[in-house]
């Protein structure tokens, strides 16, 4: 098990119902994609946030990350929709 800070933004935050949380993640959750799968099993709100495959983006320790990015060393993982700044 490793302790991870999760952060959510925009409608991902609204669907999950909180802006951030600290959770214990089982060691077999190795990548961003694993984490999304594992979160979807934790409850309706997560299933709703991640329902459309490939829409939600992730950052690992504040750097954009692909689904296959490892999270073993990560302290902070964030999920959000495509950016609309600028």
């Amino acid at each position: 098990m490793s302790r991870l800070k999760l952060m959510y933004f925009s409608w991902v935050r609204e669907r999950i119902g909180r802006a951030e949380e600290e959770i214990e993640v089982p060691a077999e959750v190795a990548t961003v994609a694993d984490l999304v799968r594992w979160l979807k099993g934790r409850g309706e709100e997560y299933a709703h946030a991640f329902e459309s495959e490939g829409i939600v983006r992730a950052a690992v320790d504040r750097v954009h990350a692909r689904p296959d990015a490892p999270i073993a060393q990560a302290r902070e993982v964030a999920f959000f929709p495509p950016m609309t700044g600028g």
């Binding site: 952060m7 933004f9 950052a59 929709p81 609309t84 700044g85």
Partner: protein, 159 residues
């Protein structure tokens, strides 16, 4: 020719408005070797009166870091004397500023291209999300990302 001295990029994520004149002046101060300064200002449109305001959410910490990465990429591609990026968050009303990019260089082509590059990548990489507040006060939709922004960013990646 001496290579151009590049000052550290200035990156600010702030609630407050900015001054184009003050930012240009800061980049030029004490320098006599620059021939070109480009500024881009992005503003909030009222979308034909439909919009009362935009609410801009951002990811503190990552926003600064990601813009710094994009600025470093611009400095690697073009010979620049300086780069400034200021991005606002919070409530922004029609006619108000959202984002400022300033680039200074010896020659105009570098200043223009770097400013366009910075804007294209800010749009697709900087962790900001816009939500509409409609006339009357009701919250509207989160603004959807535009495919044309991805296309604009992709044109800088060749080979």
């Amino acid at each position: 020719m001496k290579p151009l001295t590049e000052t550290k990029p200035r990156i600010a994520i702030q609630r407050e408005d900015f001054s184009i004149a003050a930012e240009v002046e800061a980049l030029l101060r004490g320098r006599h070797d620059l021939g070109a300064v480009v500024t881009f200002t992005g503003l909030c449109r009222d979308e034909g009166g439909r919009l009362e305001a935009l609410e801009l959410e951002h990811y503190p910490g990552m926003a600064e870091a990601e813009i710094a990465r994009v600025a470093a990429e611009a400095s690697a591609r073009w010979s620049l004397a300086g780069v400034t990026v200021i991005h606002r968050y919070g409530e922004i009303r029609p006619g108000e500023n959202i984002v400022l990019v300033v680039t200074a260089a010896e020659h105009r082509r570098a200043a223009f291209e770097a400013a366009e590059f910075l804007m294209d990548f800010l749009k697709t990489r900087a962790p900001f999300w816009k939500r509409e507040r409609l006339s009357g006060g009701a919250f509207g939709e989160w603004v959807a990302a535009k495919e044309e922004d991805d296309t604009a960013a992709a044109r800088w990646c060749k080979g």
